[in-house]
């Protein structure tokens, strides 16, 4: 029972704790899309913050764990984890490690969540480095990009594993049949790019996935791939660029429309924004750690928090982690190659 519970970081995120607590309630709304059982959610945070909020807004029956410390969004992850061993991030990860929960969800400091999870939970058997997977709704179907910043100087083997993990995730959690895996590069030929990418191209070609080769930056929007593999540095730059570029473009469009007295409702704008907003998919999944870890966007509102809880439940229930382990174990060639790395 406890293994299906989701620990939720009440203290992390720009809109914490209000948006986090509201999001937890929303996930349990009997009229909502998720209808999660409240006892499945473990609120992790400062008791003196959680108690009054629940007293005022009502407590549907959440589990609670007290964490007396909180790590700020801008703190240096390694230093903060050392200085605050009882932070909500540390306690949430411990809840998963000790079996009091199966998943941890945080909108907090990404580096701290990645660090605490990687060290506290360890990696799945056969996995060398976890990667952050983000799913975007582009061209009418979801595309998962990884790594979005967990591993900024990866080895070729890490990239190949991201291909396998991303493919397993898309199949298990998003019902994509034989996901097409692509490698983000500066040209389509296998000889293109850095030494890292040339080696990764070779390893991905041999991996038990449907590898479709290199793609360029713009090809992400052309619908030819379901999983896009990249190093964490490039991934992070790309993700932040996409977020802000979409706002920038919509701003340009709106001021053009205004000049022409064209009225365009905020709902329409919302629908466009929704298509490129990864909060719709509940945030990012840290693939490759023992347990399920979801990192929501810092700016997450209550709706995004509920989506993140939904993603955590879906990932746990799908058995994606077991399938990742089986995937690496079932292909001794890939597995040996990893062991040698």
């Amino acid at each position: 029972m406890h293994g299906s519970r989701i620990a939720l970081d009440v203290m992390g995120g720009d809109l914490a704790p209000e948006a986090i607590l509201s999001g937890a309630r929303r996930a349990c709304d009997p009229l909502g899309g998720l209808r999660m059982a409240p006892e499945r959610i473990v609120l992790v945070g400062k008791q003196e913050v959680m108690d009054p909020w629940l007293a005022e807004h009502g407590d549907p029956g959440f589990a609670l764990e007290h964490a007396p410390e909180a790590i700020g969004m801008e703190e240096s992850p390694a230093a903060a984890l050392r200085a605050k061993p009882r932070s909500s991030i540390a306690v949430g990860v411990q809840a998963v490690r000790d079996g009091r929960a199966g998943a941890f969800v945080s909108m907090g400091n990404t580096g701290a969540v990645v660090g605490a999870s990687t060290i506290g939970l360890g990696t799945l058997e056969g996995v060398r480095r976890p990667g952050i997977a983000v799913t975007l709704e582009l061209t009418g179907h979801p595309v998962t990009l990884l790594d979005m910043g967990a591993n900024i100087v990866p080895k070729p083997q890490h990239l190949a594993q991201y291909g396998v993990m991303g493919s397993t995730y898309m199949r298990d959690c998003l019902a994509v049949h034989e996901p097409r895996v692509a490698l983000l590069n500066i040209g389509s030929e296998p000889s293109k790019g850095t030494e890292l990418l040339k080696s990764a191209h070779g390893l991905l070609s041999e991996a038990p996935i449907r590898f479709v080769g290199n793609i360029e930056g713009g090809d992400i929007f052309r619908g030819g791939s379901d999983v896009v593999v990249t190093d964490g540095f490039t991934g992070n730059v790309v993700l932040k660029l996409l977020e802000d570029f979409s706002s920038f473009m919509l701003h340009l469009v709106l001021s053009e429309l205004k000049q022409h007295d064209v009225k365009w409702g905020p709902e329409a704008l919302g629908r466009v924004r929704k298509q490129i907003d990864y909060a719709e998919y509940g945030g990012a999944l840290l693939l490759g750690v023992k347990g399920t870890v979801v990192i929501g966007h810092g700016r997450s509102d209550a709706g995004a928090v509920a989506n993140a809880l939904g993603l955590a439940a879906r990932a746990m229930d799908s058995g994606v982690n077991d399938h990742i382990i089986q995937g690496f174990a079932g292909h001794p060639g890939a597995s040996n190659r990893e062991a040698r790395a």
Copy 2:
């Protein structure tokens, strides 16, 4: 006189030779914005292609150089340059090297133009590696990003030099007073990112420029920087992403508008597109080589070709190359650091 001429690659680009030749004519249009003297343009290409076109459309008095070979857009640059020593790209670069022209403009194979120019012309005194600079009109003012793909595995010193060269270019060619130079990274703190970026941050801090520190992907659109320095791999991914993402976003917006029966003219769409289209600035400038080299977008139409000729003229006339040399010579610290690299 010959030193102010511009060699134009008639054979390169998706729409060559038609768009190239039309673009050359447009640059010389007595009613146009550039009003270039025709004898300033040296058409470089296959005689049997140029002659009939000029016979049909009229020759305002272009200079011509015959190049019997052409390098395709998809050819491997190094192999193509070896196999086709008399390609329009090779002949155009030779024209600059031998003083028959001061600038070379090509919409052709980027790798081949960079390779031929770097080897054929050599780098400016004090410059270690050329970089591709692209200017985009964002948030109402131009931002120059470099390197966009000439140097995919740079050293810290190369990035620091890109900061100096980009700054000089913005000042001399786009009249930006004390351009703010930023380093593209995954966080604002100097300790963020790869070893390459940490070292580059240190060197940029010491360089004779207005260095404003690290910025993240999305900050490009926030107006806080005039020059954005990055490695050629990330730069290339970002540039291609921006191009296609803008089309994708406009497509989303248009289909939303259509569903609501909102009419929006193609002119308004064109104005939005124009703001993010680097063809408006004439394409990319290969900064750091002896001579002026402009690499236009492969998809360039006649208007973009004319803009590229304009950029080449502007760069030549501004003396940006002399100022780059002076910049490195005037700061022995930076110069010595380069010499040691």
